[in-house]
C-alpha cells in the first residue's frame, strides 16, 4: 500500500499539474459545501448533509494516501448516509426571478462569457496545453489533459466571475451547494456504480454472462449471430452500465468466433458497430447514472427515470438499425476478408 502511494507521488511529479492537484481542488470545493451546509440552519438535516459532503471531500483530499479498506469504509458510510435519508436541502441563498431578469438585462450576453470559458479552456488545454513544458517539466499531465483543463477552466471562470460580478466571496460556494443539493446523494452514484463494476469484474460476472449467451442461443445462421451480438451488447451494457465492460465479453463469446471466424465478417466493421450497439444500451439504464440519473436530478425532474424514458425509443430503433447495418456491411466491405 505504502509503495503504491509512493509510486503515485512519483508519477505526480512528472508534471506541474496532475490529476492529484485537481482532486485537491475538488476536495476543497466539496469541503466548502460541507462547511456551508453545517452552518445552514434552514436545512432540516444540516449535519447529515455536512457529513456526506465532508466524507466526499475527504475522499478527494486524502483518498490517494488512505489504504483501500479505509476508502471502502468511506464509500460504505456514504451509502448509509445517502441510502437512509440523512441529506436535506439547504435554504437557497440566491436571487429572485425578478432580480435575475433585471440582472440578465443589465449584463447582457456577456453573461455567457464565463460559462464559455470552461469549454474553451478544455478545448485549448486538450489541443495546445498538452505540449507546453516550461523549464523541461510539462505544465499538465498529458494523459489527463481533458480533466485538468476542465479544472483549470473552472478556476479561471470562477476568478473572472468574482472580479466582474463582485458577489459575496462565499456566493459561489452557496450557489454550488444549491445545485449540489438538488442532486443530493445521486451525485455519488456514478462512482459507486463504477466500483460495483470492479467487483463484478473480480467475481467474473462478465464471463458468466458470456457463457449464457454462447450456450443457450443457436447460431446456425449469420444473422442470428449478428443479432445476438448486437442485442447482447445492448443488454449487457444496460446491466453493467458501461459498454467498455460488455465489449470484451461479447466479442470473445460471439463476435470473433462466429461473426469473424465462422462467417467471415470484417472485424473492424463488427467492432465499430458492436461498440455503438452497446451505447444504445447505455441510453436505457439507470446504471449509467452520470448520463441518465444525475441529469434528471440536475434538471429538477420529479421522475428519476425521465431522461431514460425520453431515450428508450431511440435506443431500441437504433439498436435495430445497428443490427441491420452490421448484417448488410460486415460481409461486403472492409479490408480483412480472408
Amino acid at each position: 500500500m505504502a509503495r503504491d502511494a509512493n509510486r503515485r507521488r512519483a508519477v505526480r511529479k512528472l508534471a506541474v499539474i496532475g490529476l492529484e492537484e485537481v482532486y485537491l481542488f475538488a476536495g476543497f470545493v466539496f469541503a466548502g459545501f460541507a462547511v456551508q451546509s453545517a452552518r445552514d440552519r434552514s436545512n432540516p438535516r444540516r449535519f447529515g448533509t455536512a457529513a456526506f459532503w465532508g466524507l466526499f471531500s475527504t475522499s478527494f483530499l486524502l483518498g490517494s494516501h488512505l489504504p483501500d479498506s479505509a476508502n471502502g469504509a468511506l464509500a460504505l458510510a456514504l451509502v448509509l448516509l445517502g441510502g437512509f435519508h440523512a441529506l436535506g436541502k439547504g435554504g437557497e441563498r440566491t436571487t429572485s426571478e425578478a432580480d435575475r431578469r433585471a440582472s440578465a438585462t443589465e449584463y447582457g450576453n456577456a453573461l455567457f462569457v464565463p460559462a464559455l470559458i470552461i469549454p474553451a479552456t478544455a478545448l485549448l488545454g486538450t489541443v495546445a496545453l498538452k505540449n507546453v513544458a516550461p523549464g523541461g517539466m510539462p505544465f499538465i499531465d498529458a494523459k489527463q489533459a481533458t480533466l485538468i483543463s476542465l479544472a483549470l477552466g473552472v478556476a479561471i471562470a470562477w476568478i473572472v466571475a468574482l472580479l466582474w460580478l463582485r458577489p459575496r466571496l462565499l456566493a459561489p460556494l452557496d450557489e454550488g451547494r444549491r445545485l449540489m443539493d438538488t442532486i443530493g446523494w445521486a451525485a455519488v452514484l456514478p462512482q459507486m456504480l463504477a466500483s460495483l463494476g470492479a467487483v463484478f469484474a473480480l467475481a467474473g460476472v462478465g464471463r458468466a454472462v458470456g457463457l449464457v449467451f454462447a450456450h443457450y442461443i443457436p447460431f446456425d445462421h449469420a444473422f442470428t449471430a449478428i443479432a445476438a451480438y448486437c442485442i447482447g451488447m445492448g443488454v449487457f451494457t444496460a446491466i453493467m452500465g458501461n459498454a467498455f465492460a460488455a465489449f470484451p465479453v461479447m466479442t470473445a463469446a460471439i463476435g470473433l468466433p462466429l461473426i469473424v471466424h465462422k462467417f467471415g465478417g470484417d472485424p473492424a466493421i463488427m467492432g465499430a458497430i458492436g461498440m455503438l450497439s452497446g451505447f444504445c444500451g447505455t441510453l436505457t439504464t439507470p446504471m449509467a447514472a452520470n448520463f441518465n440519473i444525475v441529469p434528471a436530478a440536475l434538471l429538477e425532474l420529479p421522475d428519476r427515470y425521465a431522461v431514460i424514458k425520453a431515450q428508450l425509443p431511440t435506443a431500441i430503433l437504433l439498436l435495430a438499425a445497428n443490427t441491420i447495418l452490421m448484417y448488410v456491411l460486415v460481409f461486403r466491405f472492409g479490408a480483412h476478408h480472408a
Partner: protein
C-alpha cells in the same frame, strides 16, 4: 452462475425503486460472496475502485461557477436570446444542439457540452423559452418533457459522435482487444465504420425531437392560455 445473483439484485432493486446506493452495496456484497470473497476483501476491492474512479465526479466542479452565473440571470439571458428568434421551436433547437454536439464530438471535442455545463444553464432554458414563445404557458408536464429531451440530445450527440474520432477511448479499446486476439485493425477503419450509425442516430433522434413539437402543439391546444392575445 451464482455470480449472476448480484445482477439480479441490481435489476430487482431498480425495478422496485429501492434507494440505488443501498442496491449497489447489496449487489456488491452478494456478488463478492457468491464468488467466495469475504466481506473485508469485498470492502477493499470496492474502496480501491471507488478511489480510482473519483475522476467521474470531477464534473461537479463546474457547479459553483454555473450556480453563480445563474444568480446573475444566465438562464434568463438564454431565454431572452431564444425569444428573439421567430423560427425557434423546442424540437428544432434541440436538433441543432444534437447535430452540433455530434460534430464537435466527432472531431474529438467531447468536452464542449455536458449536462452541468450546457444543458442545465443554457440548452434546457432555451428549449423551454422556445416552447413558451407561442403565447401559451407550458404545463409542468410539457416543461419536464422538454428538459428530459434536452438531456437526451446531449447524450445521443456525444455517444454517437465520439466514435468517429480516432483517438477516443472506445476506439482504442476495440483496437486493443482485437489485437490481443490476433486481429489487427486500424483506428481509422473503426472510426470510418462508426459513421453509418452516427447518421442513423441523427436521423432517428432528430425525427423524435421534431415530433416533440407536434406533441407540444397537442398539449397547448388542450389548455389554451387565457392571457394570449
Amino acid at each position: 452462475m451464482l455470480t449472476l445473483l448480484g445482477v439480479g439484485v441490481v435489476v430487482l432493486g431498480f425495478l422496485i425503486r429501492i434507494n440505488p446506493l443501498l442496491v449497489i452495496a447489496a449487489a456488491a456484497f452478494v456478488t463478492g460472496w457468491a464468488a467466495g470473497f469475504g466481506p473485508v476483501a469485498i470492502l477493499v476491492a470496492f474502496g480501491k475502485a471507488f478511489n480510482e474512479s473519483r475522476y467521474v465526479s470531477l464534473v461537479f466542479l463546474v457547479l459553483p461557477v454555473i450556480g453563480l452565473l445563474e444568480r446573475y440571470g444566465l438562464q434568463e439571458r438564454a431565454r431572452m436570446l431564444v425569444a428573439r428568434i421567430p423560427a425557434a421551436t423546442p424540437g428544432r433547437l434541440l436538433v441543432a444542439y444534437l447535430a452540433l454536439r455530434q460534430m464537435f464530438s466527432a472531431v474529438g471535442l467531447v468536452s464542449i457540452g455536458g449536462h452541468a455545463q450546457m444543458v442545465r444553464p443554457l440548452i434546457a432554458p432555451m428549449a423551454e423559452a422556445a416552447g413558451e414563445k407561442r403565447g401559451a404557458e407550458l404545463s409542468s408536464g410539457a416543461r419536464f418533457r422538454i428538459r428530459a429531451y434536452a438531456a437526451s440530445a446531449d447524450n445521443v450527440g456525444v455517444f454517437f459522435g465520439e466514435d468517429v474520432f480516432i483517438a477516443i477511448g472506445s476506439i482504442l479499446l476495440i483496437k486493443g482487444f482485437l489485437e490481443q486476439s490476433g486481429v489487427v485493425v486500424q483506428p481509422l477503419e473503426l472510426s470510418l465504420w462508426a459513421i453509418p450509425t452516427a447518421l442513423m442516430a441523427l436521423a432517428i433522434h432528430g425525427t423524435r425531437l421534431l415530433l416533440l413539437d407536434r406533441w407540444l402543439a397537442t398539449q397547448t391546444a388542450v389548455v389554451p392560455s387565457e392571457s394570449s392575445p
